[in-house]
C-alpha cells in the first residue's frame, strides 16, 4: 500500500480533483449546499446567502491577491460598482435583475481593468496605496450617484422566468448555483495556463517575464477577473437586499475582504476563500448574536459595536503572523495528523 497519494501522470497532477479529500469536500459541500433550505430557517438561510455572496467576492480577490500577488484594497468598491449597476438597471431601466447580473460583472471588470493600469509600474506598497486611492475615489463617485445612501431595488424586477427571487429559498438556490459556477470557474482558472502565469508573476515577476510570461497582460487578467467576481457578488448583494447604500462598500469592507483572503488561505482560491468567509463573516455573525446580549447584560453595551472591530482585527493580525498560508493550512495539518495517526513521522 503506498504511503500517500502519488501522481504518475502530468494530467493527474493537473486534474481538477487531485486528492480524495477534494472529492469528499466537494460531495459534502454540494450536499450541504443543496439541503440547506430544508434544514435552516429564514434567518440562517439569509446568513447562508450572504456567505455565498461574499464567497464570490473573496474568490475574485483571492485570484488578484493570492494567485497573481497584486495587492488590491478596492474589492468592496468594485462590489459596489456591480451592486449599483444592478440597482440602476432595475430601477431606471426596468431591467430584470438576473439579466443585469452579467452586466454588473462586466462593468466591474472594466473598472478592474482600469485598476490594473497602476500595477504595470507599481509594486507592493505603492500598488496597495494606488488601489486604496481608487477605492476612495470610487466611494466619492458612489456618494455622488447615491447621495441619500439608499437606492431601492424594485421587488418586481427580482424574477427569473416564473420563479420569484423574493422568496428566500428560491434566492438561495439561485445564489448557490451562481456561486458554485463561479467557484468551479475559479478552480479551473487557477490550474489553467493563465493561473500558472499568475503564480509565476506572484513569485517573481522579473523571472516570469524572462521565461516568456506576458506580465502586464497577466496582471490585467488577474485584476479583470477579480473585478468580474466582485461585480457579480455586488449584483447578487443588490438582488438579496431591499435597497443598497454605499456604506456597505467602503474601505473597511475592503479590509474585511482582504482579511478573508489572508485568513482563509491566499492562493487557495476556492476552499481558502470559503474558509475565510465562514470565519470572518458567518462565524462572527453567529458569535455576535450570542455575544452582544451578554455584553449588554453586563453593562458594556458601549462595547457592542466596537467589539467586532477589536476581535476580528486582532484575529486577522494574529493569523497572518502565525499562519502565513491561512487557516486552510491548519486544516491540512489536522488532516495529516489523522491520516498518519498513530505514527506521525
Amino acid at each position: 500500500m503506498p504511503a500517500g497519494v502519488f501522481k504518475e501522470t502530468y494530467e493527474g497532477d493537473m486534474a481538477f480533483i487531485r486528492y480524495p479529500i477534494h472529492k469528499a469536500a466537494l460531495v459534502l459541500a454540494v450536499i450541504a449546499g443543496l439541503s440547506a433550505p430544508l434544514l435552516l430557517d429564514t434567518y440562517y438561510l439569509n446568513l447562508a446567502i450572504t456567505a455565498l455572496i461574499f464567497w464570490v467576492a473573496v474568490i475574485g480577490l483571492n485570484i488578484t491577491v493570492g494567485l497573481a500577488g497584486q495587492i488590491s484594497l478596492a474589492q468592496a468598491a468594485l462590489m459596489g460598482v456591480g451592486a449599483y449597476t444592478v440597482a440602476f438597471a432595475a430601477l431606471k431601466l426596468g431591467v430584470n435583475v438576473v439579466l443585469a447580473l452579467p452586466l454588473a460583472g462586466i462593468t466591474a471588470m472594466i473598472i478592474g481593468l482600469v485598476l490594473s493600469l497602476p500595477s504595470f509600474k507599481l509594486k507592493e506598497y505603492y500598488l496597495a496605496m494606488a488601489s486604496l486611492a481608487a477605492q476612495l475615489l470610487l466611494e466619492y463617485a458612489f456618494s455622488r450617484i447615491d447621495p441619500d445612501q439608499y437606492t431601492p431595488i424594485p421587488p418586481e424586477a427580482k424574477r427569473l422566468a416564473s420563479i420569484d427571487l423574493n422568496e428566500p429559498e428560491a434566492l438561495y438556490y439561485f445564489t448557490f448555483i451562481v456561486a458554485a459556477l463561479m467557484a468551479l470557474a475559479a478552480g479551473n482558472i487557477a490550474r489553467s495556463s493563465y493561473g500558472r502565469a499568475m503564480k509565476a508573476v506572484r513569485d517573481n515577476d522579473v523571472a516570469a517575464s524572462i521565461v516568456g510570461v506576458n506580465v502586464p497582460l497577466t496582471k490585467a487578467i488577474a485584476f479583470g477577473i477579480g473585478g468580474f467576481y466582485a461585480g457579480i457578488a455586488g449584483g447578487l448583494y443588490a438582488i438579496y437586499s431591499v435597497g443598497i447604500g454605499w456604506e456597505a462598500f467602503t474601505l473597511v469592507n475592503s479590509i474585511e475582504l482582504l482579511g478573508m483572503v489572508l485568513i482563509g488561505g491566499p492562493g487557495r482560491v476556492v476552499w481558502g476563500s470559503l474558509l475565510g468567509v465562514l470565519v470572518l463573516r458567518t462565524g462572527w455573525t453567529l458569535l455576535e448574536s450570542n455575544l452582544v446580549p451578554i455584553l449588554a447584560a453586563m453593562g458594556f453595551s458601549a462595547f457592542a459595536s466596537a467589539i467586532k472591530y477589536i476581535v476580528l482585527g486582532t484575529l486577522i493580525t494574529v493569523v497572518i503572523i502565525l499562519e502565513p498560508e491561512g487557516l486552510i493550512a491548519v486544516l491540512r495539518r489536522v488532516k495529516e495528523y489523522f491520516r498518519l495517526w498513530p505514527y506521525s513521522y
Partner: protein, 297 residues
Amino acid sequence: MALEAVDVETWSNLIFQGVLLGILYSLIAMGYNLVYRANKSINFAVPQVVLLAAYTALITATATGRLEVALASAIIVSVAVSMAIERGVARPLLGRPPIALIGATLGVFYALKGVVLVVGGSEVAVLPLDIDYYRLGALTVATNDLISLLGAIPVLAGVVLLHRKTSFGAAMRAVAEDAEGAAAYGLPVRRLMLAGWALAGLVGGLGSILLAVKTQVSPDLEYYAIRALAASLIAGLDSLGGVLLGGIVLGLAEQLASKFLDPYLPGIGSDIAFLLLLLILFVKPYGFFGSERIERV
C-alpha cells in the same frame, strides 16, 4: 461663483491655508517614511493611531483644561501604540513578503478602529483654545494656525537634522540601507528599528494633535492621515525631506480644488489627493524623491 471675484486677499489666504495644511500632512507623512526607512514596511494602522491620539487628547483636555497635558498624552499614546505595533506585528513579520505586513497592519487598523469607538465614539469636538485673529497684510491668521505652524516646522526640521547630522541618524540610515550589514558592524539593529517606529509615533502624535488644533477632533482625522500617506508616496517613501513638498502639493491642491472645482463636483476637495496620487504615480512610480529600485533575479 465667478472666477474674476478671486482677489489678492482670497488668493493669499488660500495659499497660506494650503501650505499650512500641507505642513501638517507632511508631519504625519514623515511618520510613514520613518517606518519605511526603519524596516521597509508601511504602517497602515497610522490613521487609527492618529485618531486614537486625538481622542485621548480630547479626553485629557476636557478633564484638565490644559492643552499641554493633552499634547503630552496624545504623544505618549501614539508612541506607545507605534512601539507596540513594531514589537508585536512588524518584528515577527521581518523577512515576510509585503502583503503579510500590509494585511497585518490593516488588521491592526481594524482592531484600533474598535478601540477608538470605545474611547471616543464618533464624537466631534474642538479642543479648548481661545482663538484670536490677526491680520498680516492680506493674510488673516488665527491663533490655531500659528500654533500648528510653530509646532510642526521645528519638529520636521529636527527629525531631518537628526537623520542627517547625528550619529544616531547615521545608524538609522545604515539600518535602512542594509539591516544585515549594519548588524555586522555591531549596530543594535532591533533597537534602532524600534527607535524608528517610536520616532514615527512621536511625529504622528504631534501631527494628530496639531491637526486637531487646526480643524477639530472628529472621525475625519482618519482620512487626513490617509491623505498624508498619499503625500508620503508622492514624495517617495524613502525620502524624508521630500515629504514637505509632497504635503504642500497636496495641501494646495486640496484648497484649490475645494475653491474652484466644488461647484461642479461637491466635496471633491478631500478626494483630490487620491486623483493626484494616481496621476503622479503614473509618471513617477517611486514619487518625486524616492529612490528607484533595481530588481535582480
